[in-house]
């Protein structure tokens, strides 16, 4: 387990996913995330990391992660130099109300990301995408 209070670099490959997830979840626990709320960041982490791992780079690349408590929030930052992916601009492909046949599987993940975090920010500049996800450590939970 590695501390993530400062930026840490990981190879953006599937084989590193479990390590990244475990490091983030350990940081979330250390920041005071209760067991009942652990699922909340985990749902978003998988979606965002797999998006970077699978789609950001054509050639091997890296992802930088930082995770820490900020007041009453747990804040998670991701950065990469791959293709831009704005979680706030993606279409809502989940499309509640549509029949099964018309639903897009890809939209489920971003739907959960948006539901899992209380605040999401995205910046792309100088060929670097930076996304920030925060949720309240208070027991009142969206999930």
């Amino acid at each position: 387990m590695n501390g993530l209070s400062e930026w840490r670099e990981y190879p953006a490959i599937r084989e590193m996913y479990d390590t990244m997830r475990d490091d983030i979840m350990a940081s979330a626990q250390a920041a005071g995330t209760s067991e009942t709320r652990e699922i909340q960041p985990e749902l978003g982490i998988e979606e965002m990391l797999i998006n970077i791992i699978d789609y950001a780079y054509d050639d091997p690349g890296a992802v930088w992660i930082r995770a820490r408590r900020e007041g009453a929030l747990f804040r998670l930052d991701f950065a990469d130099y791959g293709r831009p992916f704005n979680p706030l601009a993606e279409d809502m492909r989940h499309s509640e109300g549509l029949p099964v046949e018309e639903r897009e599987e890809g939209g489920l993940g971003i739907h959960l990301v948006r539901k899992s975090f209380d605040r999401i920010e995205y910046v792309y500049e100088d060929f670097q995408g930076k996304s920030q996800y925060s949720f309240s450590l208070a027991e009142t939970s969206l999930i």
Binding site: I39, E46, E47, I50, V100, E101, G109, H111, L112, I143
Partner: protein
Amino acid sequence: MASEIVQKETKLANGWLAWSVEGRIDISTADSVYQSGEAIVEREEKTVLDMSGVVYISSAGLRVLLRLLKKAKKEGKEFTVAGAAGAVKTVLTYSNMDTLLNLRESLDDL
């Protein structure tokens, strides 16, 4: 910590094939779960995924359920889920998949 799953099939007296999965359905196990489910849906008319042993499901797992439901509907078959509890049930509800999949409390509710 890598995810591991255990899968089992049981033919029920009412004609349903109960497919039970134990563990986490996430990015590490989703492909394996889908491959098993795809084979089951192809050969069975009525399949219920018993999720009472599932401790976590991510969006990758939800996509598996949606793909299997689409496949079953396309082939004129039935696919549903039962036994989801705790955080797993919450995620199904959260994503509206509980309604879509006609989630049952247990296998007794088929």
